[in-house]
Symmetry: C2
Subunit: 114 residues, 2 copies
DNA sequence: TTTATATTTTGCTAAATAACGAAATGAAAT
DNA sequence: ATTTCATTTCGTTATTTAGCAAAATATAAA
Protein backbone atom coordinates (compact mmCIF):
# COMPACT_ATOMS: atom_id res chain seq x y z
CA UNK A 1 0.00 0.00 0.00
CA UNK A 2 2.83 2.34 0.89
CA UNK A 3 4.61 1.26 -2.30
CA UNK A 4 1.54 2.14 -4.37
CA UNK A 5 1.15 5.49 -2.61
CA UNK A 6 4.83 6.15 -3.27
CA UNK A 7 4.41 5.66 -7.02
CA UNK A 8 1.53 8.11 -7.10
CA UNK A 9 3.47 10.55 -4.93
CA UNK A 10 6.29 10.45 -7.48
CA UNK A 11 3.71 11.36 -10.12
CA UNK A 12 2.08 14.10 -8.06
CA UNK A 13 4.47 16.91 -8.96
CA UNK A 14 4.03 19.00 -12.16
CA UNK A 15 7.78 19.28 -12.76
CA UNK A 16 8.23 15.51 -12.49
CA UNK A 17 5.41 14.98 -15.00
CA UNK A 18 7.11 17.44 -17.36
CA UNK A 19 10.36 15.47 -17.00
CA UNK A 20 8.61 12.21 -17.91
CA UNK A 21 7.07 13.75 -21.01
CA UNK A 22 10.44 15.16 -22.08
CA UNK A 23 12.10 11.78 -21.65
CA UNK A 24 9.41 10.36 -23.92
CA UNK A 25 11.07 12.35 -26.70
CA UNK A 26 14.65 11.47 -25.88
CA UNK A 27 17.27 10.67 -23.28
CA UNK A 28 18.45 13.75 -21.38
CA UNK A 29 21.17 14.57 -18.88
CA UNK A 30 20.58 16.55 -15.69
CA UNK A 31 21.80 19.88 -17.01
CA UNK A 32 19.64 19.63 -20.12
CA UNK A 33 16.54 19.03 -17.99
CA UNK A 34 17.62 21.83 -15.68
CA UNK A 35 17.85 24.17 -18.63
CA UNK A 36 14.34 23.34 -19.89
CA UNK A 37 12.64 23.50 -16.47
CA UNK A 38 14.63 26.53 -15.35
CA UNK A 39 15.21 25.16 -11.85
CA UNK A 40 18.31 24.72 -9.72
CA UNK A 41 20.44 21.69 -10.65
CA UNK A 42 20.09 20.29 -7.16
CA UNK A 43 16.30 20.49 -7.40
CA UNK A 44 16.24 18.60 -10.70
CA UNK A 45 18.65 16.00 -9.35
CA UNK A 46 16.29 15.39 -6.45
CA UNK A 47 13.26 15.06 -8.78
CA UNK A 48 15.18 12.53 -10.84
CA UNK A 49 16.08 10.47 -7.77
CA UNK A 50 12.40 10.34 -6.78
CA UNK A 51 11.39 9.16 -10.26
CA UNK A 52 14.20 6.60 -10.17
CA UNK A 53 13.09 5.35 -6.74
CA UNK A 54 9.72 4.46 -8.23
CA UNK A 55 11.34 2.74 -11.22
CA UNK A 56 9.83 5.22 -13.66
CA UNK A 57 13.22 6.15 -15.08
CA UNK A 58 16.70 4.64 -15.31
CA UNK A 59 20.11 6.27 -15.39
CA UNK A 60 23.23 5.52 -17.37
CA UNK A 61 26.59 7.11 -16.80
CA UNK A 62 28.21 8.49 -19.91
CA UNK A 63 31.55 10.10 -19.19
CA UNK A 64 30.92 13.15 -17.04
CA UNK A 65 27.23 13.09 -17.80
CA UNK A 66 24.40 11.02 -16.31
CA UNK A 67 21.75 10.22 -18.90
CA UNK A 68 18.18 9.53 -17.84
CA UNK A 69 15.53 7.73 -19.83
CA UNK A 70 12.09 6.17 -19.33
CA UNK A 71 12.23 2.68 -17.80
CA UNK A 72 10.37 1.13 -20.73
CA UNK A 73 11.67 -2.38 -20.10
CA UNK A 74 10.53 -2.59 -16.47
CA UNK A 75 8.82 -5.66 -15.05
CA UNK A 76 6.78 -3.45 -12.72
CA UNK A 77 3.18 -3.84 -13.94
CA UNK A 78 1.97 -0.46 -12.82
CA UNK A 79 4.97 1.41 -14.17
CA UNK A 80 4.66 -0.47 -17.46
CA UNK A 81 0.95 0.33 -17.73
CA UNK A 82 1.64 3.97 -16.95
CA UNK A 83 4.55 4.44 -19.35
CA UNK A 84 2.74 2.58 -22.14
CA UNK A 85 -0.14 5.05 -21.87
CA UNK A 86 1.67 8.29 -21.13
CA UNK A 87 -0.58 10.19 -23.51
CA UNK A 88 -3.65 9.17 -21.55
CA UNK A 89 -2.18 9.99 -18.15
CA UNK A 90 -0.40 13.21 -19.00
CA UNK A 91 -2.42 15.29 -21.43
CA UNK A 92 -0.41 17.41 -23.83
CA UNK A 93 -0.97 20.88 -22.55
CA UNK A 94 0.75 23.92 -23.97
CA UNK A 95 3.70 23.57 -21.60
CA UNK A 96 4.32 19.98 -22.72
CA UNK A 97 4.50 21.04 -26.36
CA UNK A 98 6.92 23.80 -25.47
CA UNK A 99 9.03 21.38 -23.44
CA UNK A 100 9.12 18.93 -26.37
CA UNK A 101 10.65 21.55 -28.61
CA UNK A 102 13.05 22.72 -25.93
CA UNK A 103 14.10 19.15 -25.14
CA UNK A 104 14.77 18.38 -28.78
CA UNK A 105 16.88 21.50 -29.30
CA UNK A 106 18.81 21.56 -26.06
CA UNK A 107 22.50 20.63 -26.33
CA UNK A 108 24.51 19.57 -23.29
CA UNK A 109 27.66 21.08 -24.71
CA UNK A 110 26.02 24.49 -24.74
CA UNK A 111 23.88 24.48 -21.58
CA UNK A 112 26.36 22.87 -19.24
CA UNK A 113 29.69 24.51 -18.34
CA UNK A 114 28.23 27.17 -16.08
CA UNK B 1 -0.57 19.56 -15.77
CA UNK B 2 -1.64 20.76 -12.36
CA UNK B 3 -4.91 18.86 -12.82
CA UNK B 4 -3.00 15.65 -13.58
CA UNK B 5 -0.68 16.16 -10.62
CA UNK B 6 -3.74 16.74 -8.45
CA UNK B 7 -5.24 13.39 -9.40
CA UNK B 8 -2.02 11.60 -8.50
CA UNK B 9 -1.76 13.58 -5.28
CA UNK B 10 -5.22 12.37 -4.34
CA UNK B 11 -3.96 8.82 -4.91
CA UNK B 12 -0.72 9.33 -2.99
CA UNK B 13 -2.05 8.63 0.49
CA UNK B 14 -2.35 5.06 1.87
CA UNK B 15 -5.58 5.80 3.74
CA UNK B 16 -7.21 7.23 0.62
CA UNK B 17 -6.21 4.11 -1.33
CA UNK B 18 -7.76 1.97 1.41
CA UNK B 19 -10.96 4.00 1.13
CA UNK B 20 -11.13 3.43 -2.63
CA UNK B 21 -10.68 -0.32 -2.21
CA UNK B 22 -13.41 -0.41 0.45
CA UNK B 23 -15.79 1.47 -1.80
CA UNK B 24 -15.11 -1.15 -4.46
CA UNK B 25 -16.99 -3.54 -2.19
CA UNK B 26 -19.89 -1.28 -1.30
CA UNK B 27 -21.16 2.21 -0.64
CA UNK B 28 -20.16 3.49 2.79
CA UNK B 29 -20.97 6.49 4.96
CA UNK B 30 -18.36 8.60 6.74
CA UNK B 31 -18.74 6.97 10.15
CA UNK B 32 -18.44 3.46 8.69
CA UNK B 33 -15.18 4.40 6.96
CA UNK B 34 -14.03 6.11 10.15
CA UNK B 35 -14.65 2.92 12.07
CA UNK B 36 -12.65 0.75 9.67
CA UNK B 37 -9.68 3.14 9.36
CA UNK B 38 -9.73 4.07 13.04
CA UNK B 39 -9.13 7.75 12.37
CA UNK B 40 -10.89 10.91 13.54
CA UNK B 41 -14.14 11.65 11.70
CA UNK B 42 -12.81 15.02 10.57
CA UNK B 43 -9.74 13.37 9.06
CA UNK B 44 -11.85 10.92 7.08
CA UNK B 45 -14.17 13.70 5.94
CA UNK B 46 -11.15 15.58 4.61
CA UNK B 47 -9.84 12.50 2.77
CA UNK B 48 -13.25 12.05 1.17
CA UNK B 49 -13.37 15.65 0.02
CA UNK B 50 -9.97 15.23 -1.65
CA UNK B 51 -11.12 12.08 -3.47
CA UNK B 52 -14.32 13.87 -4.50
CA UNK B 53 -12.34 16.86 -5.80
CA UNK B 54 -10.55 14.54 -8.23
CA UNK B 55 -13.84 12.92 -9.31
CA UNK B 56 -12.78 9.54 -7.97
CA UNK B 57 -15.85 9.24 -5.76
CA UNK B 58 -19.35 10.71 -5.59
CA UNK B 59 -21.58 11.46 -2.62
CA UNK B 60 -25.29 11.03 -2.08
CA UNK B 61 -27.20 12.34 0.89
CA UNK B 62 -29.40 9.78 2.56
CA UNK B 63 -31.21 11.21 5.54
CA UNK B 64 -28.65 12.08 8.15
CA UNK B 65 -25.98 10.07 6.40
CA UNK B 66 -23.78 10.91 3.44
CA UNK B 67 -23.03 7.86 1.33
CA UNK B 68 -19.90 7.70 -0.77
CA UNK B 69 -19.25 5.43 -3.73
CA UNK B 70 -16.80 5.06 -6.62
CA UNK B 71 -17.51 7.39 -9.52
CA UNK B 72 -17.86 4.51 -12.00
CA UNK B 73 -19.92 6.50 -14.50
CA UNK B 74 -17.44 9.37 -14.89
CA UNK B 75 -16.52 10.84 -18.26
CA UNK B 76 -13.01 11.59 -16.98
CA UNK B 77 -10.75 9.30 -19.03
CA UNK B 78 -8.02 8.93 -16.44
CA UNK B 79 -10.41 8.32 -13.56
CA UNK B 80 -12.30 5.79 -15.67
CA UNK B 81 -9.09 3.99 -16.63
CA UNK B 82 -7.99 3.94 -13.02
CA UNK B 83 -11.27 2.73 -11.51
CA UNK B 84 -11.70 0.08 -14.20
CA UNK B 85 -8.33 -1.38 -13.25
CA UNK B 86 -8.30 -0.93 -9.51
CA UNK B 87 -6.82 -4.39 -9.01
CA UNK B 88 -3.81 -3.48 -11.12
CA UNK B 89 -3.21 -0.15 -9.43
CA UNK B 90 -3.88 -1.11 -5.86
CA UNK B 91 -2.54 -4.56 -5.11
CA UNK B 92 -4.49 -6.56 -2.54
CA UNK B 93 -2.19 -6.55 0.43
CA UNK B 94 -3.13 -7.99 3.78
CA UNK B 95 -4.61 -4.71 4.97
CA UNK B 96 -6.93 -4.52 1.96
CA UNK B 97 -8.31 -7.98 2.68
CA UNK B 98 -8.90 -7.05 6.30
CA UNK B 99 -10.59 -3.81 5.24
CA UNK B 100 -12.85 -5.74 2.85
CA UNK B 101 -14.14 -7.89 5.68
CA UNK B 102 -14.50 -4.93 8.01
CA UNK B 103 -16.30 -2.89 5.35
CA UNK B 104 -18.74 -5.70 4.66
CA UNK B 105 -19.56 -6.21 8.34
CA UNK B 106 -19.69 -2.63 9.51
CA UNK B 107 -23.17 -1.29 10.30
CA UNK B 108 -23.85 2.45 10.51
CA UNK B 109 -26.51 1.90 13.13
CA UNK B 110 -23.95 0.37 15.44
CA UNK B 111 -20.78 2.38 14.76
CA UNK B 112 -22.33 5.82 14.66
CA UNK B 113 -24.06 7.36 17.70
CA UNK B 114 -20.91 8.19 19.59
C1' DT C 1 -39.43 23.62 18.52
C1' DT C 2 -36.05 21.26 20.86
C1' DT C 3 -32.84 17.51 21.01
C1' DA C 4 -29.86 14.13 18.99
C1' DT C 5 -26.55 12.89 15.79
C1' DA C 6 -23.85 12.62 11.18
C1' DT C 7 -20.89 15.44 8.75
C1' DT C 8 -18.11 19.49 7.62
C1' DT C 9 -15.33 23.35 8.79
C1' DT C 10 -11.91 25.64 11.61
C1' DG C 11 -7.77 26.13 14.21
C1' DC C 12 -3.83 24.03 15.63
C1' DT C 13 0.58 20.99 15.57
C1' DA C 14 3.96 17.86 13.74
C1' DA C 15 5.84 15.95 9.71
C1' DA C 16 6.78 15.98 4.80
C1' DT C 17 8.08 18.41 0.62
C1' DA C 18 9.97 21.60 -3.01
C1' DA C 19 13.01 25.01 -3.59
C1' DC C 20 17.68 27.16 -3.26
C1' DG C 21 22.81 27.77 -2.58
C1' DA C 22 26.95 25.81 -0.94
C1' DA C 23 29.79 21.99 -0.11
C1' DA C 24 31.09 17.28 -1.40
C1' DT C 25 31.77 13.68 -4.90
C1' DG C 26 33.41 11.57 -9.01
C1' DA C 27 35.00 11.22 -13.60
C1' DA C 28 37.43 13.42 -17.65
C1' DA C 29 40.84 16.44 -19.43
C1' DT C 30 45.12 18.86 -18.89
C1' DA D 1 48.65 15.07 -9.92
C1' DT D 2 45.78 18.87 -10.56
C1' DT D 3 42.06 21.11 -12.56
C1' DT D 4 37.52 21.19 -14.54
C1' DC D 5 32.92 20.40 -14.47
C1' DA D 6 28.42 17.42 -14.08
C1' DT D 7 26.03 15.67 -10.49
C1' DT D 8 24.73 14.60 -5.74
C1' DT D 9 24.34 15.60 -0.94
C1' DC D 10 23.66 18.77 2.86
C1' DG D 11 21.59 22.50 5.39
C1' DT D 12 18.06 25.84 5.42
C1' DT D 13 13.50 27.97 4.53
C1' DA D 14 8.71 28.37 3.07
C1' DT D 15 4.75 25.76 1.96
C1' DT D 16 1.77 21.84 2.14
C1' DT D 17 -0.30 18.06 4.38
C1' DA D 18 -2.26 14.59 7.70
C1' DG D 19 -3.75 14.31 11.97
C1' DC D 20 -6.76 15.73 16.04
C1' DA D 21 -10.30 18.18 18.92
C1' DA D 22 -13.72 21.56 19.11
C1' DA D 23 -17.07 24.43 16.94
C1' DA D 24 -20.40 24.95 13.25
C1' DT D 25 -23.84 22.99 10.10
C1' DA D 26 -27.60 20.14 8.68
C1' DT D 27 -30.96 16.75 9.04
C1' DA D 28 -34.00 13.39 11.67
C1' DA D 29 -36.45 12.28 15.64
C1' DA D 30 -38.97 13.50 19.75
Amino acid sequence: MKETAKLFKALSDPNRLRILKMLEKRTLCVCEITDVLNLATSTVSKHLSILKESELIVEEKNGKWVDYSLNTTTENKRVKEFLNNLDLWIVDEQIVKIDYIAACCVDRNLVCCK
